[in-house]
């Protein structure tokens, strides 16, 4: 009995150590989104140029939805060239790239778009409605929406060419 107790007390620390070992090994950047697998929340905004931008009109295309801001340095600046390249290589292959500019002002936002030569539609979300509908924590965040209008993936932080390719290609192979 006594021998058993001598072992039991240190053993009680094991579950705590296991929990800590598990918790500290997780990447804090992997935020699970409850939206993955669900229909993408619809929105109707106006681009910085004043053109209407509605998600529903792009049903049937793979949509890459990028939340960004001109004050989001450096991550948004790091991913901007990759987004420009993605638009060039995918715009004629059934992919729609859409930027949502959050908590920003029109002038710095336009300066940002000019600087990186972004020609895909970009719309401000002045009241944050779309950001909250998508459960956005911060910028940049990028959502990958399939042809059927479902959220299929979410990337937190700057995207790279490889990340866009790995997420978009499988969705393009699916017939909508």
């Amino acid at each position: 009995m006594k021998r058993l107790w001598r072992w039991l007390i240190p053993l009680a620390a094991v579950p705590v150590l296991v929990l800590l070992a598990y918790g500290f090994r997780l990447s804090p950047r992997d935020i699970p989104s409850p939206l993955v697998g669900r229909p993408a929340p619809g929105f109707a905004l106006a681009t910085l140029e004043g053109a209407p931008l509605e998600l529903a009109t792009h049903r049937g295309k793979v949509v890459v939805l990028n939340f960004w801001a001109s004050w989001c340095y450096p991550a948004c600046y790091e991913e901007a060239p990759a987004l420009a390249r993605a638009w060039e290589s995918y715009k004629d292959r059934g992919v729609m790239l859409v930027g949502i500019n959050i908590q920003d002002k029109p002038d710095p936002a336009r300066t940002f778009l000019t600087r990186f030569g972004h020609t895909f539609p970009n719309a401000p979300d002045p009241a944050g409605r779309v950001s909250v509908d998508y459960g956005v924590y911060g910028v940049p965040e990028t959502f990958f929406i399939d042809r059927a209008g479902r959220v299929r993936g979410k990337h937190v932080g700057a995207v790279t060419d490889a990340i866009v390719r790995d997420r978009v290609e499988p969705l393009l192979r699916e017939r909508g």
Binding site: L19, L20, Y22, G23, L26, S27, P28, R29, D30, I31, P32, S33, P34, L35, A69, W71, C72, Y73, A75, Q103, D104, K105, P124, P126, A127, G128, R129, S131, V132, D133, Y134, G135, V136, Y137, G138, V139, V156
Partner: protein, 173 residues
């Protein structure tokens, strides 16, 4: 339990969860574009908005509630709470909307049901178990046969004689 204690508990629980660690986040812009200029809807009281906002975690600052955070995001979230309450939703429905978008993470106090009930129950269960263990050990230690209970050790005759001699010396003085 106070809200502060509940928040501390939730924080402790979230240490083991992926979203608990700090995320590098850019600061809010210096100026609020349009939200700040908008007049609040008249039908919903500040108190009603505050009540819901106080239970939601601010997504950019994480250690604060939406009610306490001065960030632009929290401001926008308070406006969304106000609009949803004004449209006739109950506070529970408004909270459900945020949980739907962000997961249970958004709630400062985890719900007292399902898996997250553990967060509420385990600390008290552990406390009770610890107290029970201490009580058990105290009883056992106090019952251990001590000097008082044991039969007096046999005295050798030489010692007995010495004690008696010294006692009688005391008496004659």
């Amino acid at each position: 339990m106070s809200r502060r204690a509940a928040a501390a508990l939730a924080l402790a629980a979230s240490l083991a969860l992926p979203a608990g660690a700090s995320l590098a986040r850019s600061p809010d812009p210096g100026a609020a574009p349009s939200a700040a200029a908008r007049a609040p809807a008249s039908t919903v009281s500040e108190a009603a908005v505050h009540e819901v906002a106080a239970e939601l975690r601010c997504v950019v600052c994480q250690a604060l509630s939406v009610a306490d955070s001065p960030s632009e995001t929290a401001h926008q979230m308070r406006e969304i709470i106000r609009d949803r309450l004004a449209s006739g939703e109950t506070p529970e429905q408004v909270k459900a909307y945020f949980v739907d978008k962000y997961g249970l993470w958004i709630l400062l106090a985890p719900p007292r049901r399902g898996f997250t009930l553990l967060v509420w129950v385990v600390p008290f269960a552990a406390l009770l178990a610890g107290l029970a263990l201490v009580a058990l050990l105290l009883r056992r230690w106090s019952r251990r046969p001590g000097v008082a209970d044991a039969a007096p050790p046999p005295l050798d005759p030489e010692m007995r004689q010495r004690i008696e001699r010294e006692l009688s010396d005391l008496g004659t003085r």
